[in-house]
Subunit: 344 residues, 2 copies
């Protein structure tokens, strides 16, 4: 099953492109995002973040509208949910396959078995609806630290093996066969063979970004979003241009390139669309509303004096998910406005 994560784009219009390509289910990371996509006819969503017992009301409302997958790694969360959910959900047990963020350690078979039995016991209760145990879910986010596609592919192999091992341990304990689900763009982009998993949930690949490019997960041609930033100051004497584009627009995420902190790079544009990154230009610093665009090459320094206040430049973001989160809509290059969900 291909269940792409929609947290990167968070747009019903972009989601329609997935639907047109045959995708019928997706992953989200908050009840609000799930509700938005439910409003746009998505009927099968997994919330791939540990369910929050304070949100059982919102989760139950969602479960009444669609096939809802919930992620848990703690019996107390399960108990709180089972007590308050009136509609059936599919529980995924989160497994820590090496990221050390959420989940039960992949080799802590005792806890995995206990929680799996807990879900099945809750599901069998006469007073609760027929919740199901869908399987084991992980986010192999350690792939974001991989410097090369080979390293990311190695993460993929390790994550898959650990999920398979955990599933086998549950089988050996007498539990039914479970699905295994993983998703993170660097590892999936680096791996041609996704076999051995039941479900794939990458998300960032829809736009890619400088972080993925630097790790070799994509090519420059794959960069699919950029922020149009107005020039508000030009300073040839210090090789800089000032943009009204700060942390509140680009996010404060950064990359280290050649020992320098970089918050974005310029993307070229011609009548065919985005072209390539423009060499020699980097966002060298951000404050709340300002971005300092620095010319680092002789070529860029030669181009700089031609820029003037009121020009627009396109900045490719370091981390597309965080940058897009700052906006409430997209514009396509032919001027179409695409709505997106925005957290209140």
């Amino acid at each position: 099953v291909f269940r792409p994560h929609f947290k990167t784009h968070q747009s019903a219009a972009v989601a329609d492109w997935f639907r047109q390509a045959g995708v019928t289910c997706a992953t989200v990371s908050s009840p609000g995002m799930a509700s938005y996509f439910a409003d746009h006819r998505w009927g099968d969503l997994t919330l791939a973040i540990g369910a929050n017992p304070l949100q059982t009301g919102a989760l139950d409302a969602l479960a009444g509208r669609l096939r809802l997958g919930l992620t848990i790694d703690d019996q107390r969360t399960l108990d709180a949910l089972v007590e308050d959910l009136h509609h059936p959900v599919a529980f995924w047990i989160e497994v820590d396959t090496g990221q050390h963020r959420g989940g039960i350690a992949w080799d802590d078979h005792a806890r995995l078995v206990d929680l799996a039995r807990g879900v099945l016991a809750g599901g069998e209760s006469a007073t609760t609806p027929a919740h199901t145990l869908a399987g084991l879910l992980t986010h192999g986010g350690q792939s974001y630290q991989a410097a090369t596609p080979e390293a990311a592919a190695a993460v993929f192999a390790t994550v898959r093996e650990r999920l398979q091992t955990a599933r086998q341990a549950l089988l050996d304990a007498g539990l039914p066969p479970l699905e295994i689900s993983a998703g993170d763009t660097p590892a999936f982009a680096a791996s041609a063979d996704w076999s051995g998993l039941d479900e794939a949930r990458p998300g960032n690949f829809v736009f890619y970004d400088l972080m993925q490019l630097t790790a070799g997960a994509c090519d420059e041609d794959d960069l699919a979003c950029a922020v149009a930033c107005p020039v508000i100051g030009v300073y040839p004497q210090r090789d800089e241009v000032l943009l009204h584009a700060g942390s509140v627009h680009l996010s404060c995420e950064s990359l280290t390139i050649g020992g320098r902190t970089v918050h974005g790079r310029l993307l070229g544009l011609d009548p065919t669309g985005f072209t390539r990154l423009v060499p020699g230009w980097e966002i060298a610093g951000l404050s709340q509303e300002h971005g300092r665009l620095r010319a680092r090459s002789p070529q860029a320094r030669a181009e700089l004096p031609a820029l003037q206040p009121g020009d627009l430049v396109l900045v490719a973001p370091v981390h597309a998910c965080l940058t897009c989160e700052q906006f409430s809509r997209y514009w396509t290059l032919d001027g179409q406005e695409l709505p997106r969900y925005r957290r209140r």
Copy 2:
């Protein structure tokens, strides 16, 4: 004149507290923010970011509603504005007093004189409204790099001296006396004597944050905002608690404390309100929606097993301006909802 920057709180309700204290004018950093405060009866606002020639329509609409100050450092911006503004504005010439973000260098007297004359010439044109030249404006943002209050106070003294020198140069060139305006919380917090400036525009002090605390600009008792974060996972075996509170909530801003990257700290609460930071707890890592809260002391590790999914903890942000930007309202500790502006 005390013209606090409202970009930190962006809330009409918080602004009312300023009004009750006698404040009648404010600073903002976007036309949208200005429009929001204009809707809430603020009639004198300065936009303290280089004016964007692409926004002359919005700026003109604002100038028709209130006394609008605009910031410029380029003749081309001035020309674009003067051509399209039908309502009078007050122009501030931005001066670079050492931050090297926006502005004409404080000692580039020739360019300062030229632009000042340009404003006066535009103002005298028979076909344009009577724009005024208000003065010289700077942001001494280099104070954010000051590690101590003494270093921040030294920035204050330097910034003031440079503004005064620039003003004198304009006087010597035959221009009328101009006001000088500066504003940045670290330098103003560190300086008991604000004399010698005509206008003060600090903003962050309304809430303060861990960055200001670390620089000695405030005490723990001054921390006035925090994010209520739900616990979604508890991992005693690796001294961590997982919060549904990621970069999209806290912003990805970080501080280095004892060589460690810290994205937030826990703030205590009792019936009297916020108390002090809780020792031994730090947000050690963020991803888009997750925050990893780490117990670093024996005391914190002892407290950890008592936490459970569904608990709420209060996280004091590293940089209040960026964190608050992620939300559309505040809650006071007695349950009152305070609206805030949110950029679309």
